[in-house]
């Protein structure tokens, strides 16, 4: 009896020790983001990662900060060399700031390069310097147009017949005449109206060598077109100044205007903030410029980066690759976040057809439409002077175009001059 008992004790002890070995301590990582939505994807992908016994167990502390706060904290942490997270979401406008001088982010070539043939690589160039990739985006951000079919039907306009921006303008005149409502809104203090149109038209703000392109003819022509719509009332100044203001959401939700042109990720602004338009909004490719240009433009984004000083750079990279560069991760990017994934393989796959709130709100032809434009999207040139350019576009170019009578030539010239004066 005694022997049996002692055997039992020894066995439980052994089991305890074995158990302790099996229950390895998870690796702790910190992740900063300014976009709470992203954590939904990260949490899902973390769960799946930990469910695979081959992977080292991870415990990721996801901290959400307001946009400005997070980038300020990151700047200070990287400059002082202390307190930075392991993984961080950096907004595209701010990314160039972290690629100056001695770069504090880890290069991600070892996880990006093997996947190169499956990815939309132009999205990675936004976060690259000297051939090294430092950030992974979640989406392409292809620009498209949302049409309010209720208003268009009232005016007797069929949006599928709108092929060029001139068609769009003409349709706008009919809409204005029949319904009294404008065709679209131009932002007066943000870049989402001007930059996509200029970029689609073949223009940009800077060259890779930091030459200013703001006063090129293509910019002037684009501004002139936008102004001509403002002049006859087919376009109006966006209520609240931009397409992310509470005022705009309320106004648009109440049927304020017939259409809006924004990047693909704007899908979730409709589902979340403009519920009354459910079933009424249809998406379509951007109209084309009759004098050349591209089918769409890629706009906005967030580069998720790994910080070089992290104690767990390798495992952080592997998890990030799993969360954002795997087939599963990219499918979930659509299902959970409503973004257009950066992996070309997923388009047309069965997994992408799973129902979600976006298919309910619009219809299930979204990706068939999107596929038609993906082959012709220009690169954007994000150099270290892009934050300065972006600020000028938001606060000078957009304002002067929408709120003043300044001529497109003068606007382009003055903005270019201002940018040149700020470039180091």
């Amino acid at each position: 009896m005694k022997k049996l008992l002692s055997l039992l004790v020894v066995l439980t002890l052994l089991a305890g020790i074995c158990g302790a070995f099996a229950e390895e301590e998870p690796i702790h990582l910190t992740l900063w983001t300014f976009q709470e939505l992203h954590t939904q994807l990260y949490k899902e992908m973390l769960e799946k990662w930990n469910a695979n016994p081959d992977n080292p167990k991870l415990d990721i502390d996801m901290q959400v900060y307001p946009y400005e706060d997070m980038h300020n904290k990151l700047t200070i942490a990287l400059q002082s060399g202390e307190g930075a997270p392991d993984i961080v979401d950096i907004e595209i406008n701010m990314f160039a700031n972290y690629l100056k001088g001695d770069i504090q982010l880890a290069d991600l070539n070892d996880i990006v390069e093997p996947m190169e043939d499956h990815l939309v690589m132009s999205r990675f160039n936004n976060y690259a310097k000297d051939g090294k990739f430092y950030g992974i985006d979640h989406h392409i951000g292809a620009c498209i147009v949302w049409y309010n079919t209720e208003i268009l039907e009232e005016a007797g306009v069929d949006y599928t017949t709108i092929k060029t921006w001139d068609d769009y303008h003409e349709a706008g005149k009919i809409v204005l005449e029949k319904t009294g409502k404008p065709m679209c809104t131009w932002e007066s203090n943000d870049c989402w109206s001007i930059y996509p149109l200029v970029n689609q038209h073949g223009g940009d703000w800077l060259t890779p060598d930091n030459e200013v392109r703001m006063d090129e003819q293509v910019v002037i022509d684009t501004l002139a077109f936008m102004r001509s719509m403002l002049d006859d009332g087919t376009a109006v100044a966006c209520p609240g100044g931009n397409h992310h203001s509470e005022e705009y959401y309320g106004w648009m939700n109440a049927g304020g205007c017939a259409s809006v042109s924004m990047p693909f990720w704007y899908l979730n602004r409709f589902t979340d903030y403009m519920p009354d338009l459910s079933g009424k909004m249809k998406v379509a490719p951007m109209p084309l410029w009759s004098d050349g240009g591209h089918k769409s433009a890629q706009m906005g984004g967030t580069g998720t980066a790994v910080v070089k000083t992290s104690a767990n750079v390798d495992v952080a990279k592997q998890w990030l690759a799993y969360a954002t560069l795997s087939f599963e991760g990219c499918v979930n990017t659509w299902l959970i976040l409503g973004f257009d994934p950066i992996m070309t393989d997923v388009y047309g796959s069965e997994e992408m057809k799973a129902p979600n709130k976006f298919f309910d709100y619009y219809d299930d032809t979204i990706f068939d439409m999107l596929k038609t434009v993906l082959d012709d999207i220009p690169d954007t040139c994000l150099t270290e002077n892009f934050p300065a350019a972006s600020d000028i576009v938001r606060n000078q170019m957009a304002y002067d175009l929408v709120m003043t009578d300044k001529s497109p030539e003068d606007i382009a010239r003055d903005c270019a001059e201002e940018l040149r004066s700020q470039i180091f």
Partner: protein
């Protein structure tokens, strides 16, 4: 026995030594001043001559930051700040003074109720107040203030989208928030004036207006100097109010003050050297304006 030991103890303890004690008392201020004011000031002066790209990437570039200072954005920020500071000083010194005089007079019933009422906004968060103001002065005809304008037979306006009206909203917001504080300052000054002076003035036949100009105003001169000085300083260094109304947007140049521009340079464009140079010009500007104002008001005149 007891008395003896009580006499001895102070000598043993340096903290009660009359030669040491004054230094102990001023130490917190001196340490605070050195760490939080003097060191950052010197560091800022140094940084304004540098290009800073990272923790170890610092390069002295001489006066280059200053040479590049005068862009359109900088001048616009200076104008915005100067315009705001001017109206801020005009409105925020005069209106509270009038209200304080009224509250002090026998004309107003429930004076202490109004005092608290005027003071309450100072306790609110400026960000929350800013959001409320932003929505109240919205661009749509259905926004509250535009509704009011329509009721008054006026055209609805894009309040926050133009420099003039935007500045007006800023001043209204500042007045709403800080009036109570200035009223308290003024009231304390007015209450310190001896009632006999007013009596004497009345006997000499002075009316309400001449009593205000010849008794009240001279009587509260020290308070007036103080209020104007901090209002000038507050006007030039204003930042939160404008961020609460416009975030990082800058319609027509109204949304970006000189501090906002410094913030933009330092954090948005990650150019700490330039931001330091901007900060120093603000220091020089405010020092200059305050010195002129204090000299004009006779602050440096010797007491007769």
């Amino acid at each position: 026995m007891q008395r003896q030991s009580a006499n001895k103890r102070p000598r043993a303890n340096p903290l009660t030594n009359p030669k040491v004690v004054p230094y102990v008392f001023v130490a917190p201020f001196v340490i605070y001043f050195l760490l939080v004011y003097l060191y950052p000031t010197i560091a800022t002066i140094m940084m304004s001559f540098q290009r800073i790209d990272g923790p170890t990437q610092v390069e002295f570039i001489g006066f280059k930051n200053y040479e590049r200072l005068f862009s359109r954005n900088y001048v616009q920020a200076l104008q915005t700040t100067a315009r705001y500071a001017f109206w801020d000083v005009v409105v925020l010194t005069s209106v509270p003074l009038l209200v304080a005089v009224l509250l002090h007079s026998k004309l107003v019933m429930f004076a202490s109720f109004f005092k608290s009422l005027f003071f309450i906004p100072a306790l609110t968060s400026i960000i929350v107040a800013g959001i409320v103001f932003r929505l109240a002065f919205g661009t749509l005809p259905t926004a509250p203030v535009n509704r009011l304008m329509t009721l008054l037979g006026q055209e609805p306006r894009d309040w926050l989208m133009y420099a003039g009206t935007g500045n007006l909203v800023l001043i209204v917001l500042t007045l709403w928030r800080w009036m109570g504080v200035n009223i308290i300052y003024y009231l304390s000054g007015i209450q310190a004036i001896s009632p006999e002076l007013y009596e004497a003035a009345e006997i000499d036949g002075a009316g309400a207006v001449s009593k205000f100009f010849h008794v009240t105003l001279p009587g509260i001169r020290p308070v007036l100097i103080y209020v104007i000085t901090i209002t000038v300083l507050g006007g030039f260094s204003m930042f939160t109010e404008s961020v609460a109304l416009w975030q990082q947007n800058n319609p027509g140049g109204v949304g970006r003050t000189i501090v906002g521009y410094m913030y933009l340079m330092g954090f948005y464009k990650s150019n700490m050297g330039m931001a330091s140079a901007v900060g120093l010009t603000l220091l020089v500007l405010v020092l200059g304006v305050n010195l002129i104002q204090l000299t004009l008001m006779g602050f440096f005149r010797k007491e007769r």
